[in-house]
Structures are given as C-alpha cells and as structure tokens.
C-alpha cells in the first residue's frame, strides 16, 4: 500500500511541474507591465526611471526565465502571491473572503445534492424501468442540456421577480440584522445559487449512484442473498448498497474537494462574491495576478482531489490491484 502511495506521489511530480510552468508562462504573456503596476503612479518623471529600475531588480525581472520561475514558485510557497490591483491589497488577503463565501455556498450544495442523489439513485436502480426511474431519467435528460446560467435566469425570473420570494442575487449585509436574522438572511441569499448548482450537478450524481447500485445488484451474492429468503430491504441496503458505496465514495471525496472550487457562471449570475465571481471580475479588470493565482489554486486542488480519490478507492476496495 505504501509503495502504491509513493508511486502515485512520484507520478504527480511531472503534472504539478507542467501546471506551474504553464501558469508561469501565462504570467509572462499577460498584458500589462508588472513593474509599472507596482509603482506609485504619482512619482515624478525624474524619480520614476530610477524607481522603475529598482522595482525591476526587486522583482527579479532581470534574471533568466528558469530563475524567475524558481523565484515565483518559492514566493508562492512562502505565501507571497503578488498584488491584486482589483482589491488593492495582497492576493493572499484578497482571496480569503471569496474563498469563505464559496465554501459556505458549496457546503449546502453538497449536502443537498447527496441527500437527494443517494436515495433517488438507489431507488432508481431498484425500480429500474418503472415510472419512478423514468421520471428521473427525463429530469436528468433536461438538466444535462441546461446551461447553468439558463437555470439561474429562469429561477431569478420566476422565484425572485414574479413570486418575489427570494432576493435575486447579491450578498447578505450586516444591516440585515444581528444574530439569528443575520444568519437567516444568509440562507435567503444563498437559496437560489444553491438550488441552481444542485440542479446542475444532480443529474450526473444520480446517474452515477444508480449505475453503481445496478452493478452491485447484478452480482451473484445478491441472488444468493435473495435465495436465502432475506427481506428485500436487507438485500438492498445491507448487501447491495454497501458494495455500491465503493464507487460512490469517490464522488463524496470529489465533493469535499469541490467545496473550494467556485463556479464562475452561477456565482456571476447571482452576484455571489465567491471564487468564481471574483475570478470573472479580476479578468474583466485585468487583474491577472489574482486570476492566475486562482487558477493555480484550483488546479492544485483538483490534483490533490484526484490523488486522494485514487488512494481512498484502493483503500476501500481490496479487489483493486495495486500494480
């Protein structure tokens, strides 16, 4: 097992290297002069040239590309992520609040999604081909074909504009009260983005759980269990579902990591100040420092998520060969 983990880690090295090199390259071709961005524009002309040169040296832009790359990586690892021109503060600070907002949003999405997808997926597998199953098949057919902004716009139009039930977007403010009513306002503002994200991801998860369950139900031990005369409930939940949990565990792991991944389209549609929305805003305002760091963060996140999912899979399913 340890050997497998070590081998997996070694295979990660080229991937991480490629991702960082690519982002560094992006960093180099991005429009705008990074030195000028760091300088005080109010500087007098005679001081400006000297200050420019000094800042160039300070940023290490006179060095060769490999040296600059190493320097960039070291700085990033030490938490010096650059300056966000959009927020006018270090990237490190600028990313905290959107990250918090995204995580809060995604916790609700994941809980809701799993709470619906697991029972529905199981029931669909058990009632395969029946009305219940067909209903969810049609549902997933439609939601698969829907762009997230379309779901968002439809919800805003019907629920917040026509029915006036929920705010159409934005973030809760402290003026919404203290204590309980403040938290309630969070829920109200979050409701529509959470519903949108859940609808978009639900179809895939249901299908995944359903297929895992169908696979489990078609095994020989299920027939054995049934022929023993076990109650259908016991067969489904005790024999089949436990085995279906192995593939399902991967999506749970994936879901935990996706907590941090913002969704640019949905967050923008609802003006929810999460990672995705801030990324869009940063790009629109040519704040590439912030944007590239977000990309770096999200790719490292997905690399880690894949790694952890693989390891967990190997841990929970002894049948997987660790070749």
């Amino acid at each position: 097992m340890l050997r497998y983990i070590v081998r997996r880690i070694i295979s990660l090295i080229p991937v991480v290297l490629l991702v960082t090199v690519m982002l560094f390259a992006l960093f180099k071709v991005m429009p705008g002069d990074p030195v000028r961005m760091m300088l005080n524009p109010g500087l007098k002309a005679e001081h400006y040239q000297a200050a420019y040169e000094a800042m160039r040296l300070k940023l290490g832009l006179d060095k060769s590309y490999p040296e600059q790359y190493v320097r960039w990586i070291t700085n990033t690892l030490q938490g010096e992520l650059g300056w966000s021109t959009l927020e006018n503060r270090p990237v490190k600070d600028a990313i905290k609040e959107p990250l918090k907002n995204t995580v809060i949003l995604n916790i609700f999405v994941i809980v809701l999604e799993l709470a619906i997808a697991l029972p529905v997926g199981i029931k669909c597998a058990v009632k395969r081909g029946k009305l219940y199953d067909n209903f969810w098949q049609v549902f997933s057919m439609f939601t698969y074909a829907m762009p997230s902004f379309f779901v968002a716009l439809t919800l805003i139009y019907t629920i917040s504009i026509k029915l006036k039930l929920l705010p159409p977007g934005g973030m809760p403010l402290t003026i919404h009260g203290k204590g309980f009513s403040y938290y309630l306002s969070w829920l109200r503002y979050m409701a529509l983005p959470v519903i949108t994200l859940t609808i978009i991801s639900l179809a895939g998860t249901i299908r995944y759980v359903r297929n895992a369950m169908i696979d489990a139900l078609s095994q020989d031990y299920i027939r054995t269990a049934r022929s023993k005369g076990l109650a259908e409930k016991v067969v489904i939940y005790s024999h089949a579902f436990r085995n279906a949990l192995i593939p399902v565990s991967t999506i749970v792991i994936g879901a935990i990591f996706s907590l941090f991944a913002g969704s640019p389209i949905t967050e923008t549609a609802f003006a929810w100040r999460g990672i995705g929305h801030v990324l869009v805003k940063a790009l629109n305002n040519r704040d590439f420092m912030l944007a590239i760091f977000m990309n770096l963060f999200l790719s490292m996140l997905s690399i880690t998520a894949n790694f952890v999912a693989d390891i967990t899979y190997a841990l929970v399913d002894p049948r997987i060969k660790l070749e």
Partner: protein, 628 residues
C-alpha cells in the same frame, strides 16, 4: 429459422437507411413489424446497418435527430436566407417585445373611414372620420406605474371625446379633441406624456394648429404660431425654439434630433443637433421661393414650394437625395424614419430611401389603384384608396423582439446558431483528434510512451476547465482580432476538452490489443499504424462516436457559458451565448425576458436533441446498454 431466412433474403439485404426510416414512420402508425432474431441479423446485415436499424427503432432518438436537423436548417439555411448587417443598429426599435402585428389595422377603422394615421416604433394610431381612436401593434415599453402606460390602452376620456388630431411619438401617443383638450399616454420617462402647467394654461385660451409626437418628446404648435416642445429634449435641445421664429410658425416636421419649421413667409428654419439637416438650401431661407409643405426623416428633410418644386437636403445615405423620376403634380409629402415619399395628384405613390424594413416594397394594390391619403411615419406605411380601403406595408414586426440596439433578435438567433454550432463542432473535432492520438498511441504502445502521454493527460485534466478557459480568453483578448477570437475559442475549448475521451480510448485499446485478431495481424506482419487504424480503430469507433455526440452537446453549453460571461464570441458577431450576455442585469431579466429566454431555449433545445441522439446511438450500438 433456416427456411425463414431463405424466404426473402434479397429483400432483407437491400433494406438500407431510407427503408429503415420509412419503416420507422410506418411503425409510428401501424403495428410493429417483425424483428429479426440476433442470428438473422448476424447473417444478413453489416454492423453499420444493424446500428442504423436499431437507431431508427428508438423513438426519442428520432425525435432528437429531427429536432437537431430542424435547428441546423434554421441556423444554416436561415443565415443564407436572412442576411445580417453587423453594423446596423436602430435604437428607436430597442427592446421591443415579440410581435408581428405592427401592420394589422382594425377593420372598424376602415369601416368608419380613415382620417389620419401615425406610427410609433412598434404600433400605429389611427383616427377615424367618426372621431374614434384605434391603436394597433405591439406595446414598445414595459409597463410601470408612472413610467409608462400601454399605448394600446386608449384612455377612457379619449374614447368618450371627439378626437380631431392624433400623433404618435416613438413610444407615446398624443390626441387632441374638438374642445382643444390634449391627451397623452404611453411612455412617460421624460414626462413626454404629462402636460406641463404652462402648456395647459395656454391650451385653455389658444386653439392648437398641430400636434407632434417625437422620439421621447412631444410638441404642440398653436394657431398663433407659437411652438411648445417638452419631454426628453436634453440630447437634441429641441425645446429651444429660435426667438425670431416663435409666433411665426405655420407648420412643423419633427424627427429624432431635428425639427423643421415652416414660417409664415414661406421660409424654412431647422432646429436640433443633426448638422446635415440644418444645412437648409439657401433659396428656402432667403425668401426667393415660398415653401408650402415640409417633412423630416432621421437625417434628411424635404420641402415643397408653391411651384410644385421638391427640395431634399441632408445625408446622401440610402440614396435619400436622389428623387426618383415622377410624372404629375405633388399632392402630399410624407417621411418615415429613413424614407421620403410623395403622393401625386394622379394617386401614385413615389417612395425612396432605405429598404431594410421593406418600406420600398409597395403592395400590388398601391401600385395599381389610386391613393388618396398617404401616411409614412417610422417604418410603417399606410395608403388609403379611393374606396376607403387601406393598404399597409413596411415593418411588420419582430417575431422574437429586438435587443437593446434595436436589432432583430430572430436574425441574431439564426446567425448566432450558425456561430455556436460551428464553434462547438470544431472544438469537438479538435479534441477528438487529440484524444484519439493520445489514447491510441498510449494504449497500443504502453510502457514509457504510455507513461509520458498519460502524465500529460493528467496535466490537462487537472486544469480547472472553465476558470482556465476564461483566463486564456482574457489574456489573448486584447491581442487578436474579433474574428480570430472565434478561432481562439475553438482551440481553447478543443485543447481543454480531450483528456476524458483519451483515457477512455486508451482503456478500450488496452482491451482490444490483447485480442486474437491483433495477434493475427501482428503475425502477418501488418505495420503498427495499420493495426491501430485498420484493425483496432473500427472496434472502438462506436464508443468514440457516442462520446463525440455527447461532447458536442457539452461544448455547445460551454460556448454559451463563456460567451455569457463575456469571454467567448465577441459582439457584434452574434452567438447564442453572447446574445444574452446583457442578461446579467436584473432589468433585462425582468423587463426584457425575450432577450434571454429565446436564445437560452435554443441552447437547451440543441443540447437536448444532441443528447437524445447520443443516447439512442449508444443503445443502438450496444444493445446491452439498454438493459441497464
């Protein structure tokens, strides 16, 4: 079984795609024809035939295919039939909801006899000889207390009064009754439909000579020659009437930015900001000719003098200054927003200028029968014949409404579909080519090659798709032209989409290459690339085809999402996504629902149809899948 096969092997053999399709149609209405057993299929049909036959047995798949063909025809054939002018914008027609009834006048109006007709952006108002007001067309605004009332809803006091004059502004209507009472309704955002108190007191004492509804403003000319303009005049300063004219005005002709004033000595004065219109020919101002009638279009004006001589000045665009040859005396003048027209005393209509809304295409009846009254305002034109009947031509309306620049949404959705479907398709082709190359090479050769290629696949897979796509798009945005941005989009999407398929292909190849037929091919000395392309590829072709279909739907959604965020296809080139780019604002979502609902629905329908085809293909190729 044997003798059944012998019964009509020829017939079964010949059964091709078309027959399968007809058989499907037949099955829709008549009872199911006999299925071949698996053995018979094996013996009689090639795999491709089996797949096609199975596909046509799948009703949802057929529905998806027909739907997709319909969308393709709509976009590609449509864009050939309906050309698009990317630089065109007509802000007068901005944000008008779907409607195709601009020219559908009520028959009651004709029965009572037409006295006057005037048109706004998307509606027309008619006054009958009996003094009744009729309004038809589409409401050009959203309705909000204090902001606007529906132009189609004629106020009760107007219905009761005996109206003698009507005039339509772009989004509001003015009506005057026989007791010198003025009524306004419609858009009121600049209070153009609210009577100022100064005007009201003057109305009480002085009779009105002319009322004019302009673009966002209203004007009243009193019989004593005094002109009063109110409403949204900040942009064109039409409310400033030159002092030497005030009290001498006998007739006014209004357009968006200008107003031509006919003075009592027969000279013409032009106010407003459009300078081309202000360059009035000298002889019209020095008193050498006496003008009797004037009209004004958006950037032109036309005057008629006592001798029946026509004068046109302003912008030469659309051939506005080239008066067509005509025979006879001029009886009346008329001007649409981008047209000029004259009515001759023999009942002929001569019209020239822009033809974008088919204003120049006179109906048969107008060409053959004498016309007694001619009304051209905005883009709708009406002619009254001697027998009292009415002919209408010009802008019939917009089936899908218009956007914020007054562009026809139908045209943009058609052309947007062409762009979206093409971008999606090419992105998928790029990704499939890369995926096949990576997957097949890695799977077949294994070892170090596999390792290197798969690490690279891992790398691309770990890139967060949407964030990276918008970042790349933003970085290259400033550096490439608008057309090249569309190519950039295809490349970015293609290069980020392929890893999933590459892994799948590799896994399949790993399965296939262990099979005996590959061993046999190797033993025969077939070259590597031939084994891959000729022997292995056909076996995984099914899988690839299904994945291409599903990836196509995905890439349509991605393109729409990117363009929605403003990182995709750049306007003015339309795509389904960027048409609703402006729908990020709440006002658009709430008041202009057609601007996001219609293009959004097209994206959903296209993706749905493609997914249906993909699902049906999967089941047709692998009957075991449907048992799942």
């Amino acid at each position: 079984m044997d003798n059944r096969r012998q019964r009509d092997p020829v017939l079964q053999e010949k059964r091709g795609v078309l027959q399968s399709f007809f058989a499907f149609i037949k099955r829709l209405f008549v009872k199911e024809d006999k299925k071949l057993s698996v053995l018979e299929e094996e013996a009689l049909q090639t795999p491709a035939k089996t797949v096609i036959k199975n596909f046509f047995r799948h009703k949802l798949g057929i529905l998806g295919l027909l739907g997709f063909i319909a969308i393709l025809t709509f976009s590609f054939l449509g864009s050939k039939l309906v050309p698009i002018n990317l630089s065109l914008q007509e802000t007068t027609l901005r944000n008008i909801r779907p409607g195709y009834n601009y020219l559908k006048y009520p028959t009651q109006l004709v029965q009572e006899g037409v006295k006057e007709i005037s048109s706004g952006a998307s509606f027309s108002v008619g006054l009958s000889q009996a003094g009744n007001v009729y309004v038809w067309g589409t409401v050009p605004t959203y309705l909000l207390e204090g902001f606007a009332t529906s132009v189609l809803q004629v106020p009760e006091e107007v219905q009761k009064a005996n109206i003698v004059k009507v005039s339509a502004g772009d989004r509001h209507i003015l009506a005057l009754d026989d007791r010198n009472q003025l009524y306004c309704w419609g858009l009121n955002n600049f209070e153009q439909a609210t009577l100022p108190s100064k005007l009201q007191s003057k109305l009480a004492s002085t009779p009105v000579a002319q009322i004019v509804g302009g673009e966002l403003y209203s004007a009243v000319l009193f019989a004593d020659g005094e002109l009063f303009v109110w409403g949204g005049t900040m942009g064109n300063r039409l409310d400033i009437v030159p002092l030497h004219c005030q009290g001498r005005i006998t007739k006014i002709a209004a357009s968006s930015n200008n107003m031509a004033l006919l003075l009592d000595d027969g000279t013409v004065e032009v106010t407003g900001i459009q300078t081309v219109v202000k360059q009035v020919p000298e002889q019209l101002q020095d008193g050498s000719v006496k003008v009797v009638d004037i009209v004004a279009s958006y950037r032109n004006a036309m005057a008629l003098d006592e001798q029946g001589q026509l004068y046109v000045w302003g912008d030469p665009e659309h051939g506005m200054l080239r008066i067509p040859a005509y025979q006879g005396q001029i009886k009346a003048l008329a001007a649409g927003k981008s047209n000029l027209a004259v009515l001759l005393d023999n009942g002929q209509v001569v019209i020239w200028g822009d033809n974008h809304y088919k204003q120049l295409e006179l109906p048969e009846k107008v060409q053959s029968q004498p016309v007694t009254q001619l009304y051209c305002t905005m883009f709708q034109n009406y002619a009254v014949h001697q027998d009292g009947s009415l002919s209408a031509w010009g802008n019939k309306g917009f089936i899908f409404g218009t956007d914020e620049q007054g562009r026809d949404l139908l045209t943009r959705v058609i052309h947007g579909g062409r762009i979206s479907l093409t971008v999606g398709a090419i992105a998928v082709v790029i990704s499939v080519v890369i995926a096949l190359f990576f997957g097949m090479t890695a799977g077949f050769f294994g070892g170090m090659t596999d390792n290197i290629l798969m690490r690279f696949t891992d790398f691309v897979m770990s890139i967060p798709f949407l964030p990276m796509a918008i970042t790349l798009s933003a970085v290259v945005r400033g550096k490439v032209s608008e057309m090249n941005r569309i190519y950039m989009m295809m490349v970015i999407m293609g290069f980020l989409m392929w890893p999933g398929l590459a892994r799948l292909v590799r896994a399949q190849i790993l399965l296939e290459r262990e099979k005996d037929f590959v061993l046999a091919a190797r033993a025969l000395g077939v070259r590597y690339h031939n084994i891959i392309v000729r022997h292995i590829l056909p076996n995984i072709f099914n899988l690839v085809l299904v994945n291409i279909t599903l990836a196509y739907a995905g890439s349509l959604l991605t393109e729409a999402g990117l363009s929605y965020l403003g990182f995709g296809v750049a306007p003015p080139t339309p795509s389904w996504g960027n048409i609703l780019q402006n729908a990020q604002s709440l006002a658009v979502i709430e008041y202009y629902w057609w601007r996001w609902l219609i293009p959004g629905t097209f994206v959903v329908l296209a993706a749905l149809c493609i997914n249906l085809v993909g699902d049906a293909l999967r089941e047709a190729m692998d009957p075991r899948a449907s048992e799942k």
